[in-house]
Structure formats: structure tokens, C-alpha cells
Symmetry: C2
Subunit: 212 residues, 2 copies
């Protein structure tokens, strides 16, 4: 035992299980929490459990939401003919921060990763196909989403092997519906330095060069 208190030891143990928190951070956090007013700690602890108890997933796009449908899917300002497919809810937030995208989303809930035993059936792939399929008459009557035909699917998976695999799989799946499928550009990050870019990024930036 490193601390002379089991309660502190147990908290450190729990904190280190979380991502981005190493042993040193956990110690610093525990020391900080020890000095925090009790009410604030109780609030934090409640916020943790609330996330598990209150958060639902939008039944259209599977983004996190407090109700059955998320704020983006119900917004009248959004273009329902344009669906951006992402891995996780965090990615929706990252894209929303750009203030560039006016379409709607589809959260897969992961990527195809045979090594981790994750196949298309573990993701919201079937639901994506249902969204791009020509709307049947019965659906058009009951759904809250207007039966806007989907014109384009933007694939915004992470630029790695799993993301590439998933993007390839989805392209094969969606193309037959006659819908345009695109993937967000990969290349040098803005503010990045050619000299320090890794080979894969640089070769991708070369391949994806844009005519001026």
C-alpha cells in the first residue's frame, strides 16, 4: 500500500482504470478530491451515474441524447439529404465545433475490427442502410423524420486501418442504392509541417492532391 488510507488507495485504483489517467494523475486527482468540499464530490459522483442512467441514444442517428430523438435529428435547420457517418458521439461533437456541417449524422458505435471481434453486425450498419433505402409507404406515414431522400453519405471514420476497412465496407454496401459516397480528406494537418509529417500522411497528401 502506497497511501496510508485504503479509501484513497481504492479511489486511485478506480481512477487509473479510466483512459488518459495514469498512476501519477490519479494520485494528484485523489489529493485534489480530498480537499474538495463534500457537496462538490457528491455532485461529481451523481453526474457519473446520471450519465449511465439518463443518457439515451437517438433512435435515428444513435448519437447520445436525453430523449428518444437528438437535437440534431429534430432540428428543422438540418439538411436530411446529407448524412455524415462517424464512429462515436465524440466525433459528432468534433464536427459540430467546426460549424461547417449542416447535414445530419449517423453514429456507428465503433469500427469494423476483426482483431477485436467487431463485425458490421455489432455496429449500427443495418440502421444506416435503412436510412438510405428508398422510403416505403408505411414508414413515410409514422416517422418524425421527413422522408427526404438521401443524396450523399460522407464517411468520417478515423484515418487508420479499421477506419479504412469500415469505409470500404460501407461504400460497397451503399453504392448500389445510387447514392453518392464520399470520405473526408486526409492529408497534412493545417499548421502542420511537411518536414515533420509521417510518411503515410505525406504519401496520402500526395495521392490526394487537388488541382488548382
Amino acid at each position: 500500500m502506497q497511501f496510508t488510507s485504503e479509501a484513497v488507495e481504492s479511489l486511485v485504483e478506480h481512477l487509473t482504470r479510466l483512459p488518459t489517467i495514469g498512476r501519477k494523475s490519479a494520485h494528484r486527482l485523489a489529493a485534489y478530491i480530498l480537499k474538495m468540499p463534500r457537496e462538490e464530490v457528491v455532485e461529481l459522483s451523481k453526474a457519473l451515474v446520471a450519465v449511465k442512467d439518463k443518457v439515451k441514444y437517438c433512435r435515428i442517428c444513435y448519437n447520445v441524447s436525453d430523449s428518444d430523438l437528438c437535437g440534431i435529428c429534430t432540428s428543422p435547420k438540418r439538411d436530411r439529404s446529407l448524412i455524415c457517418v462517424v464512429e462515436e458521439s465524440n466525433d459528432v461533437m468534433a464536427l459540430e465545433r467546426t460549424n461547417e456541417f449542416r447535414g445530419v449524422y449517423h453514429v456507428l458505435g465503433g469500427v469494423i475490427s476483426p482483431l477485436d471481434g467487431i463485425g458490421p453486425e455489432d455496429l449500427h450498419v443495418r440502421e444506416l442502410v435503412a436510412r438510405v433505402q428508398p422510403v416505403s409507404e408505411e414508414e413515410a406515414g409514422e416517422g418524425m423524420e421527413e422522408p427526404t431522400p438521401v443524396k450523399e453519405i460522407i464517411l468520417a471514420m478515423n484515418p487508420n486501418v479499421e477506419g479504412d476497412t469500415t469505409a470500404y465496407y460501407l461504400t460497397q454496401l451503399i453504392k448500389p442504392f445510387g447514392i453518392q459516397v464520399s470520405r473526408i480528406a486526409r492529408g497534412l494537418p493545417i499548421g502542420g509541417d511537411l518536414e515533420y509529417a509521417d510518411e503515410a500522411t505525406l504519401s496520402r497528401a500526395l495521392m490526394g492532391r487537388v488541382k488548382l
Copy 2:
């Protein structure tokens, strides 16, 4: 609102109030917590509150403890004539990891910092003086700590202005008792590089040179 769920937003808000957790880490943590089994989240939330409810402070050294006296102060293997004075409980743990120190500790609970309005009376300074004072007869009878006379006080404050101020103050306070007062060495960190050391560290390392 960046997330489409208020519960997630609130958790992120709470997490970013903690040290070492920025907005990005908080988002990543929230996403991870969303995927964690509910029981684990409940456990983590309980561990947080437990730290506030169960942790006491050792009434000899003010280190965190589950009981009235900490494991170090009650250990028969510890040399009670040697007291290492530190700022926080975390520092005790850091020193314990070295497996070098066989004495006991005294946790001040902070440092003298006039800018933050923290003076000696806000720290466990009086209690430190009580420990080094020659044992009176009544105390010798009731205390669990054996009345071993203190031979040396090692000051292990952080090497910064506040740490220096506190160390200076304590030295003036303790010296009159005829007890040896020392401070842990400051200089180049092991594995460090002279070229990259800052001026203050380097000049301190020069001043504190040791004869070979």
C-alpha cells in the same frame, strides 16, 4: 451545447473542474464512462464519496489514514527520532516509493504563501513544534507514540519560493530546540541533461556541489 445530451454535458463540466483534466480529456472520459458497465460507474462514484467520508488524518503526522493513527506512525520499524516534513500526503507517498526513508513524517497540509493568504497558522506547524518539544510528563503517559526524542528534522518542501519560505520559517522555529534541521538536496535530476537544465537548477547544483 456541444453534446446532444445534458447529462453528458454536465459530466464533462464536472470533470474539467479537476486538475490535469482538460476539455478534450473530459470528453474522452465521458465517452468511455458511457460505455462502461453501470456497476463499475457506480463503484467509481462510491469510491469518490468514500474518500470524503472515510478518510481521516493521522493525529500525529496528519497524513491520510483510515484510522486515528496512520500505518507509518504506528509501525514499530520506524525511527521516531527522524521526522521528514512534507507539504502534502502525496509527498509522503513519493518518498515511501524510494524505500530509503525509515523515519516518520509530518504533513503540513500546504506551504506558507502570503499571496494566497496562507500563513503558518493555517498549516500543522504548531503540531510539528509540539512533536519536537521535550516531552512533558503527562504526554509521555497517554500518547501511543513512544517518547523518543527527535534528533533530526528533514525539510522536504518543494523547491520553489513558497517551499523555500516555509523551510526558512521552520528552520528558525526548530533550531532553538537544539535539533538538527536539514533540507533535501536540490540539483540536477538523475538522468537529466546539463544542457537542458534551467538556470536556477544549474546555479543551485553549482552552489550545492559536494566534495569528492
